[in-house]
């Protein structure tokens, strides 16, 4: 008995079924409304502040002692890729290339910010003068102040959530103009404008922020650059690379020098003062 042969469904039908099945996956408990993309918005002219309805800010139930612990940020899980994609999509960003955006924690992890989508937004590296590099400078500054007991942790969290640019102008300088927010000598190297708050002048430690790049120092130093930097061992002013997530710093001879995903250059003295510690066998 000959049975009619059932034709194999065309490939496009199978693809359509897969797409439909994918769309039926359960929505996350925190449903972020999608924001239509404004025409002409790119990484170069993206908003410099997050949408407060999408990213109001969120914190973990942590104390000042927790964030003072070196390596605190390393105890927090990395943001899953799926969550990052969800956040990009909610901001109407369908495509992006490496180096355009940072998936920023509005209230930074280092100040007790959480990984919730409520605390995440795609922050451009390319806008000027306000961009992800500038906010990183503010975060480092505020962390130093909070750890030193000069600024209350909750106040720092609230100010970051409310308006990070206003917080920058309050704690760093009126505008990022050059190194570490200084512009013609105004900024962090000048006394802070917080009433009653007396801060010592901080040494210039950050790369140039004007260009929107991580300074003129390449993230991965060439051998020539590394050779010109004095070794860190026993030299308080030599540059080390601080892994700001783990709290460990590495000397120029380390394979991690300039290479970790989160980090920055600073002198060994500054690293020690900020509570970071040398990697075992650090050179």
């Amino acid at each position: 008995m000959n049975l009619p042969r059932h034709p194999v469904p065309p490939l496009r039908w199978l693809l359509a079924l897969l797409l439909i099945a994918g769309g039926l996956s359960p929505a996350p408990a925190y449903a972020r409304p999608a924001v239509p993309v404004a025409a002409g918005v790119t990484a170069s002219n993206a908003p410099i502040r997050p949408d407060p309805t999408l990213t109001p800010g969120d914190t973990l139930d942590v104390t000042l002692e927790d964030i003072r612990t070196v390596g605190y940020s390393a105890k927090v899980r990395d943001v899953p890729v799926a969550v990052k994609r969800q956040v990009y999509a909610s901001y109407g960003i369908a495509h992006w290339t490496k180096g355009e955006y940072e998936m920023d924690h509005l209230i930074p992890l280092s100040l007790g910010g959480s990984n919730s989508a409520k605390n995440l937004w795609p922050e451009s590296y390319l806008t000027s003068p306000w961009n992800a590099h500038v906010k990183d400078a503010l975060e480092y500054r505020l962390l130093t102040l909070v750890r030193a007991g000069k600024v209350d942790l909750k106040v720092a969290q609230q100010e970051m959530a409310r308006d990070w640019i206003a917080a920058y102008k309050k704690y760093v300088g009126p505008e990022p103009g050059g190194r570490w927010g200084t512009a013609d000598g105004v900024g962090v190297n000048a006394p802070a404008t917080v009433p009653g708050l007396s801060l010592p002048a901080s040494p210039d430690r950050r790369p140039d922020l004007r260009t929107g790049q991580r300074g003129n120092i390449p993230a991965a130093p060439t051998p020539a650059v590394a050779a010109s930097v004095p070794t860190a061992a026993g030299q308080p002013t030599a540059k080390v690379w601080v892994n700001t997530k783990s709290g460990v710093y590495h000397g120029p001879k380390s394979r991690y020098y300039g290479k970790t995903k989160q980090g920055q250059y600073m002198s060994e003295a500054e690293a020690l003062a900020a509570g970071f510690h040398a990697a075992p066998g650090n050179e």
Binding site: P26, P28, A29, D58, D61, V62, P80, N115, A117
Partner: protein, 99 residues
């Protein structure tokens, strides 16, 4: 489902002493005094965790958190969000892990 290696490294081998769920918060107390709090989805009904079981592995994907125990059982928890729902502190109240 993918293993949450960071959390597994910390709590593998710990024994559940007690568990309680109230107002969207699941609290697991371990015999070493550490406490793990998990914000759970409001509509989820998570099975109670038996006392005395020892954690073997933690798996996590999206809003599903699976605790695998050495006795072969698994406790599945529906978290409130894909991130920022789990907090682990040691007996002194010091943070050990947050997601």
């Amino acid at each position: 489902m993918a293993s949450n290696q960071k959390l597994t490294r910390i709590i593998a081998g710990r024994t559940i002493q007690a568990s309680a769920q109230e107002m969207g918060l699941l609290t697991l107390t371990f015999s070493d005094g550490s406490v793990m709090k998990v914000e759970v989805a409001p509509s989820a009904t998570n099975a109670a965790v038996n006392a005395g079981v020892k954690v073997k592995k933690v798996r996590q994907k999206g809003t599903e958190l699976d605790l695998d125990f050495e006795d072969g059982t698994t406790c599945t928890v529906q978290t409130a969000e894909a991130t920022s729902s789990v907090l682990l502190k040691d007996k002194a109240g010091k943070l050990e892990y947050a997601d």
